[in-house]
Each structure stands twice: as C-alpha cells, then as structure tokens.
C-alpha cells in the first residue's frame, strides 16, 4: 500500500494521488462548501436554516456556494409550493458519497479539540 518511503515523491502513483486530492479540492473549494455539505449531511434544510447552521455565512455567499454545489451535482434544490415560497436543499445521492470525508473531518476535529485542551492543562502546571 505505502510506497518505499523517501524519494518516491515524484513517482507516478503519488502524482496521481495528488491530482485526485486536487480534483476533490476543486469541487469542495471555497470557504464554505464543506461546512454546507456537513450541515446537509444531517438532513434537508431550507435556505434560512442553512444560513443559521453555517455560522458566519452571508446570504450572498450561501446562495453562490449552493449554486455551485448544485451544478456539480452534489445537492438538489426543491422549491416548495408554500405561501411565501421556501426552498429545500439536500444532499444528492452523489453528494452523500462525501460522507466519508466529512466523517473523518468530524473525527479529527473532535480529537484536535481534545489535544488543544490537554496542551492547556500541561501549560497550567
């Protein structure tokens, strides 16, 4: 699985993997996309709900990022036939394939917080 370590840096396998990461980043690029997808991974949300879940995002950015995610086929957009219209967003089947990445980020984030906490403890002794 792992290469011979050291000096395989420029090998074809590595380059291919780096390209794969770059492809992923191209789709998930931007400050908010991953946060949006994470929020939607817990269920469908309306525009305003999303804005509340994704802390700090403005309507303009949210709108823009959602459009890009929709174009890439990661989320679906459904306009509800309600009085003041509402729009629901949810992960598409394809978008759900990002769940593994999200999960790893959740895990890492939780551990990271633990680590920071421990560091503070050590310093205060």
């Amino acid at each position: 699985m792992m290469e011979t370590r050291e000096k395989t840096l420029t090998s074809d396998t590595c380059k291919e993997k780096l390209r794969a990461v770059q492809d992923t980043l191209d789709v998930l690029g931007g400050k908010w996309k991953i946060a949006i997808i994470s929020a939607l991974s817990f269920g469908k949300l309306r525009f305003m709900e999303l804005q509340r879940e994704v802390e700090g995002i403005g309507a303009k950015m949210l709108s823009k990022e959602l459009r890009e995610l929709e174009i890439n086929g990661l989320i679906s957009r459904h306009v509800c036939n309600t009085k003041p219209i509402t729009v629901e967003y949810e992960l598409s089947v394809y978008g759900k394939t990002l769940q593994n990445i999200i999960n790893e980020m959740i895990n890492w984030g939780i551990n990271h917080r633990e680590r920071i906490k421990e560091q503070c403890h050590e310093q205060s002794t």
Copy 2:
C-alpha cells in the same frame, strides 16, 4: 450512530459535529494547506520540491502556509547544513493523523474522475 433523520438538524449532537468540522477547517483552511499536506504525506520535501509538487502555488503563499502549518504543529521544519542552505519539511506525528482525511479525498477524487468520464460517454451516444 445516525440520528433519527429529519428535524434533528439543530440537535446538540449535530451541532457538535458541525463544530468539529469547523475546527478542522480552521486548521486546514486556505487554498493550499491540504494540497501541501498531501504532498508531504509521501515523504519529506524541500521548499522547491514542494513548490513543484503543489501545482500553481507561489513562493510567498507556500512560505506563508508552511509557517501556519508549523505553528499548528502539523509539520516540522529542518534547516540542513548544506552549502546553499536547504530546508526540509515533513509531516509531524500529529500531522500524520490527517492521513485518513487525505486518503478519503484521494478516493473520492479518483471516483469523481471516473464519474465525469462516464458522463462524457453517455453524452456522446
């Protein structure tokens, strides 16, 4: 593991997970950090080598991002005692804990490319 679906959006568990993702993004934020870490996941690299591996990055950005990654304890920097000095960067033990995230991104990127390819095939029929 998964919540009751629908309407748990604002539940405490979800919020905590979203915060974890956000924590991760805070550390990996910026256009280049993940790409840099991916490159380093295949072994130590010198400044110039990194710049070559991370397609499109300029010296200024690379320098800045490396400093931030070092501050966060994800990479280590070693100045070699060579004639024209060289500096080697490598993932720290802690930085290597990001491997899971990177791997998932590699997997997704590879599948994504496949998917795009298939779409082209379908369109050309």
